[in-house]
Symmetry: C2
Subunit: 334 residues, 2 copies
DNA sequence: TTGTATGCGTTATCAC
DNA sequence: GTGATAACGCATACAA
């Protein structure tokens, strides 16, 4: 890699002159400035990022700690983060906690040594279940800003970007009740131990309560296993009054449609099915599933913007931004 | 952040003594070593990574350039990369090309300034279609090793990790012909302009040729649009001899199953459906789709291992590793 | 066993 | 308009 020193030697001028010339300092003459720049381009000179970082004590890098990236929600958030970071001249270092507390803790610690200027994270399932928060507080204490999205620790004061889990499920449920005239709505859940899962179930319960309806909840193992099909099938077979299914994740809704069809139920006439999902989710079922569409990409963008703003000016007030979801209704019939 | 200098000042010893003590140098007395270490833990000292990088001229960071991360294949590869990198004390900086040449080029350039010790990449669709390779060659010329996986540029000499696209589709097709006695196999493709897509189609064609069968190919827009359903439906309706569908991506196979069912075809009796997929893909259809299962996680692991090995010893021979796929057959019947 | 000096590549301050 | 020098935090060759 070409360095300032090499350029200086080749041009028989000092390193500082070269540096100033490249940074368009007004102190430098037109002549030398162009000479320097020409040689720099010729030798493909690029300022060493590491040296700049050491000098300025800024890494211009954001640490991104995700529970997983095979979950399409987090994948899409990552997409939004990467785009916004790049547009603002930041790199991202990505660590995956694999939903474990230990890996999350290790990742935070390892990057808290100057590698990053701040963190964007969604808390690991295990940390959330065991209510582990010390490791995150340690980071904040060391004056590295942390932004949490989606899965959030209420007790920790920091910038947050969350989904309107309660409200969106409340509205979706009320839609099923009021517009589609459903009375026995089955909620299918495999994430009830997560903060977001709890909120979604609360939204569902609240809507039923508002209409004096009885809840039906089918809890599944969170490790999406082969039994999912059977459990849903058996439940529907044994409970024939069910006239709507509301899945609070992005997979079991699809399974539910398939099982309802297998039981000979007409969709959407006899059974409404709604789930969480992304742009291409409805394509995976026929008839297309109705989805609560979380603006995952936007969540990533907003989170990154907010963190970068707080990096630039650390006197900014902490805030919690709620990103509303879209209800995308089934358009097709079978 | 605590620095060596601060520790030294507090202990009234020199910086180098502190440094050596922390690095367990045998030159340092037991006594001072423990004193230093105690204070270090107490003040939560962590060596500044940036400074270490500048000193050693190694970033211990890998640049990962992916076309997208919302495609589950790349998401799972990323998972494998992250895991292996972490296990070997490497960080990863992730950039997404969004399938565009320009972003890919920019990302490579931006990180080729000391930020990373090497790259793992899958070539962007646009770069592949337009046969753009200069930007990658530039990186290699600047002595930064590049490892390509999945989407590969044949003309570039570097380490490569690829899937057995040709062979796996050949075998899958022959399975349909020989074991399931199919004679009119429809190939559904939305990636025929990618190197991997071409290879898969070749595998299919070769198998048909071996058995003197006629190919049926349905090409779809690569932007998975709403028309996918209609196009497949219409094709199946108009071509009633089709008795098997082979999708070479991870979405259209699911759609194909749904459309076949919609047409009243019994699966798998009257119609076999096979696609590419991942562990949870079969769950998305009923009956479960048969899949060619690419070991994406393994591809990530192997790629990372290979790159890190070449980082440690740059005299190693370049190699191309082929990761075989698994054929996972439909187990259920409807 | 400990300390001093040097340099990684850059930028900034100051002197010429 | 240009250049010498110091500093960021760390590691190491060398001196004491």
């Amino acid at each position: 890699m070409t360095t300032l020193k090499e350029l200086a030697a080749l041009l028989n001028i000092s390193v500082s002159t070269v540096s100033k010339a490249l940074n368009d300092s007004h102190e430098i003459s037109e002549n030398t400035r162009t000479r320097v720049k020409e040689l720099a381009t010729k030798l493909n000179y690029k300022p060493n990022r590491i040296a700049q970082q050491l000098k300025t004590n800024k890494s211009k890098t954001i640490g991104v700690i995700l529970p997983t990236v095979t979950n399409p929600f987090f994948a899409e958030v990552l997409h939004g983060i990467e785009k916004t970071a790049t547009n603002n001249d930041y790199d991202i270092i990505v660590c995956l906690s694999n939903e474990t507390f230990l890996k999350e803790k290790r990742s935070l610690e390892l990057l808290s040594n100057g590698s990053v200027d701040g963190f964007i994270m969604a808390v690991a399932r295990e940390s959330q279940v065991k209510n582990e928060t010390e490791h995150i507080l340690d980071v904040i204490k060391s004056r590295l800003p942390v932004l949490m999205f989606d899965r959030v620790v209420n007790e920790i004061e920091c910038n947050k970007v969350i989904v309107d889990d309660f409200q969106s499920v409340l509205e979706a449920t009320e839609y099923l009740i009021e517009k589609e005239n459903r009375k026995h709505i089955l909620l299918v859940s495999n994430i009830e131990e997560l903060s977001v899962g709890k909120l979604r179930i609360e939204g569902y319960s609240k809507a039923l309560e508002n209409h004096n309806l009885k809840p039906h909840i089918l809890k599944l193992d969170h490790a999406v296993d082969v039994d999912v099909e059977k459990k849903i099938y058996d439940y529907l077979k044994a409970n024939t009054t069910i006239d709507a299914i509301l899945s609070i994740d992005h997979v079991t809704g699809i399974v539910a449609i398939n099982m309802a069809k297998k039981l000979g139920l007409k969709i959407p006439e006899e059974m409404s099915v709604m789930g969480f999902g992304f742009d291409h989710t409805p394509l995976l079922s026929s008839p297309k599933i109705s989805i609560i569409h979380q603006k995952a990409h936007e969540i990533g963008e907003i989170s990154t913007k907010l963190l970068i703003d707080s990096l630039k000016d650390d006197s900014l007030q902490l805030q919690t931004i709620v990103v509303p979801s879209d209800l995308k209704l089934n358009e097709s019939t079978d």
